[in-house]
């Protein structure tokens, strides 16, 4: 769309029939902001929908006239959807020329890589327009597309005296972490909670969230994966039954709800802007957050400038581990599981050129032997392979040993059923890609990785995989083996990280020796 500037105001022009000079919003050197008119009767529905958000005009079920009236009275602002990073004036006109190669950034998702942007002849502005395909699924942001943000008064949340209704108790390790989270909320600071797989991370947040809710703060719990949003929502609804909670993921219905507690995929944060007083990011190391800068951008721009930021992870990146050691990053560890047993330490076993053997329809002898041992002692196992292709070659070999053995990967339509079957002990061994590396819990299994030298098995993936074993208090031990064709840095670091956590757990008296 195009705008006209008149009396220091932006005025949207939907038809280009007039002779007046109009602009695409990204070509304006600056956007006038208007002071708030205290006598204006704003629409509370619009306020609810827009407070703490950045939305496209198309996403708002209000007329352009109503939106414009709120702008003219200083209750909302138009921001550039795509920002040209330098505003070099071109010639004498003072307006930048459109198609010089200025670096751009998509203001909604932070994409600035030129190869991502697309160009099209836009019927709305009548020019060649640049748009961002990266966040297109949330509606097209282009150079002529404004983002609309609320700047008027925010409505308060209903006060609840004791929002937390949870009767459970915390382990010693959890208690320490819980106190630190509470402090981070009170002092609006940053904190990393480094908790081993199976430590019980979610409960550690309850006291902090409770504090935030009682003091009227807005809280977001973000995670990269929809599965985790779906799993956390009922748990938090149960713990905070009086609080309105929105659960946001691609395709969820609660998009326009204004709630004090939001549980969302990191992707959904792109629609928020300076909204949260407390931002909690779960599984920071998990794909796709770890590799996708868009999602890191989303976390930063959706929280208020002055807000708490709490990260939860079982496997922080090398960089973060270093920052923790050097005292540059505030962190707290939960080095032991609530059942007070140490984490199973992975064994590293050389299995030769297993891929070459696969082409001949064979598996290395030590892998075969490992499986036979499971069969003899009737223990269930999870077996990881680096690729779907190698998995498809391994499965027929294993099926000769036991026809009930199954395999699973991300696009498998029966994924859920197979995981259920393993849980119900209907499948003795499940062969999987890294898709089952986290989030799934089986009480009593052994774990092995075939081809652990593959680059897909990063340090954090291997720590997570090892974390599948010995989860329950009834069966706190389990065997973990990495079968490899050459040790990698990732394998060694993963083992070291697990040993270090066990040592710390013993030192702090969180593990019974």
């Amino acid at each position: 769309m195009r705008f006209l500037i008149k009396e220091g105001k932006l005025i949207p022009k939907l038809d280009s029939s007039d002779d007046e000079t109009t602009f695409s919003i990204s070509n304006l050197p600056e956007i006038p902001q208007l002071s708030t008119n205290p006598f204006f009767e704003y629409n509370p529905e619009l306020q609810k929908m827009l407070a703490g958000k950045q939305l496209l005009i198309d996403e708002l079920p209000f007329t352009i006239d109503e939106i414009q009236a709120h702008y003219e009275n200083g209750y909302l602002v138009y921001r550039k959807g795509i920002q040209k990073q330098e505003n070099r004036p071109h010639g004498s006109s003072g307006v930048t020329e459109k198609h010089t190669n200025l670096p751009r950034i998509c203001v909604r998702c932070g994409t600035s890589d030129e190869s991502w942007f697309g160009e099209f002849p836009c019927a709305r502005c009548g020019e060649r327009d640049i748009y961002c395909p990266k966040c297109l699924m949330m509606g097209r942001v282009s150079e002529c597309t404004p983002l609309v943000c609320w700047v008027g008064p925010e409505s308060d949340f209903p006060v609840v005296d004791r929002p937390l209704e949870w009767a459970g108790s915390l382990s010693e390790g959890q208690q320490v972490a819980s106190q630190r989270v509470l402090d981070a909320v009170k002092t609006t600071s940053e904190l990393l909670v480094w908790a081993v797989a199976g430590a019980g991370k979610t409960e550690v947040l309850f006291a902090g969230i409770n504090e935030a809710l009682t003091s009227g703060k807005r809280v977001c719990l973000a995670t990269p994966r929809t599965d985790v949003v779906l799993e956390l929502t009922p748990r938090l609804k149960k713990a905070f039954p009086q609080t309105k909670i929105a659960s946001l993921y691609g395709g969820s219905e609660e998009r326009h709800e204004f709630t004090q507690l939001t549980i969302a995929t990191t992707h959904q944060l792109l629609r928020f802007y300076k909204a949260f007083d407390v931002m909690i990011v779960d599984e920071v190391d998990a794909f796709p957050y770890s590799i996708d800068e868009t999602l890191q951008y989303a976390v930063q721009q959706s929280r208020k400038l002055d807000s708490s930021l709490i990260y939860l992870t079982a496997t922080p990146s090398k960089q973060w581990q270093k920052e923790c050691r050097l005292g540059k990053r505030k962190y707290v560890t939960i080095p032991a599981r609530y059942h007070r047993h140490p984490l199973p330490v992975p064994k590293l076993e050389w299995s030769g050129n297993w891929e070459k053997m696969l082409t001949k329809g064979k598996l290395p002898a030590n892998i075969i032997k490992w499986i036979e041992t499971r069969q003899a002692s009737r223990r269930q196992a999870l077996l990881f392979a680096p690729k779907i292709a190698s998995m498809e070659k391994i499965l027929p070999i294993l099926r000769k040993m036991d026809p009930l053995i199954e395999s699973v990967h991300a696009e498998d339509p029966d994924r859920k059923e197979k995981v259920m079957k393993l849980r119900n002990k209907e499948i003795p061994i499940l062969l999987s890609t890294t898709i089952l590396e986290r989030g799934v819990t089986f009480p009593n299994i052994d774990v092995a990785v075939i081809g652990s030298e593959d680059r897909i098995f990063t340090e954090s993936a291997l720590v997570q995989i090892a974390g599948r074993a010995g989860r329950s208090a009834d069966f706190p031990t389990g065997e973990v083996v990495f079968f490899h064709y050459g040790k990698t840095e990732a394998m060694l670091s993963a083992r070291k990280q697990i040993e270090m956590m066990n040592k710390e757990g013993i030192k702090k008296g969180l593990i019974d020796v």
Binding site: G118, E119, F120, C122, A123, Y131, P133, L136, M137
Partner: protein, 229 residues
């Protein structure tokens, strides 16, 4: 471009000599479009392989027979051809292109459109127009985008009167609807052959409405090409 996987280039003498253009999509994605091959309805191009025998009457399909038996519509559209069957995959790609508005997706079809257009002889290639409201909503006309991406020049002979979305109507409603197109001002098409272009052939009603207006205004032959049907 579709799956965002890295494309492993096929090495051949042609690519070595720089004669091939870099592919936009990988072979795996390309194979996911189901091209229409084999025997098809002489009029609408529906593949007979996927049609029950009872809906086939000689060389045309039951739907086209019904159109041809109707005095009002008989002979409006001479022939339609479509590139792909409207499978779930194609549906998703077209939806991202047209409804979400990922304009660069038009490039995916360039090669196939060029190839098939060589088999047509026509004077004008005409995209099915959108109403002003719809054009504003989408930001571009998807048919026009496809024609341009393939390197052809569209001619705008028709304009559209705004109405409800086609996809919200039943077949009967679509067929009975009053005229939705009118001739653009100041164009002359006496004895010309027109090739209409649209993204999807569903009931054939849109294309027949457009074809009828063109024939009433003197066109001698009206054919159509769509991406999917």
């Amino acid at each position: 471009m579709l799956c965002h996987e890295e494309i492993e280039p096929e090495i051949s003498w042609r690519s070595f000599l720089g004669k091939d253009q870099a592919p936009k999509i990988c072979t795996e994605c390309k194979d996911s479009f189901a091209p229409i091959t084999g025997e098809k309805c002489e009029i609408c191009g529906r593949p007979f392989d996927f049609l029950e025998e009872e809906y086939r009457i000689g060389n045309i399909c039951m739907d086209c027979k019904r159109w041809e038996e109707n005095e009002e519509w008989s002979g409006s559209l001479d022939k339609n051809r479509s590139l792909y069957r409207y499978t779930d995959f194609t549906k998703e790609v077209i939806a991202r292109f047209k409804f979400r508005g990922d304009y660069v997706f038009a490039d995916i079809f360039t090669e196939d459109i060029k190839t098939v257009l060589q088999a047509f002889q026509y004077d004008y290639i005409v995209p099915i127009p959108l109403s002003d409201e719809r054009l504003y909503e989408r930001g571009f006309n998807q048919s026009e985008a496809l024609i341009k991406a393939a390197g052809y020049t569209p001619t705008h002979l028709l304009t559209r009167i705004h109405s409800e979305k086609q996809s919200k109507k039943s077949r009967d409603e679509r067929i009975q609807i009053e005229q939705v197109f009118k001739m653009a001002e100041g164009v002359e098409i006496e004895c010309k052959t027109i090739l209409l272009f649209d993204d999807i052939y569903t009931t054939g009603s849109t294309l027949r409405h457009a074809a009828k207006v063109l024939k009433q205004n003197g066109a001698s032959k009206v054919m159509s090409l769509t991406l999917a049907r």
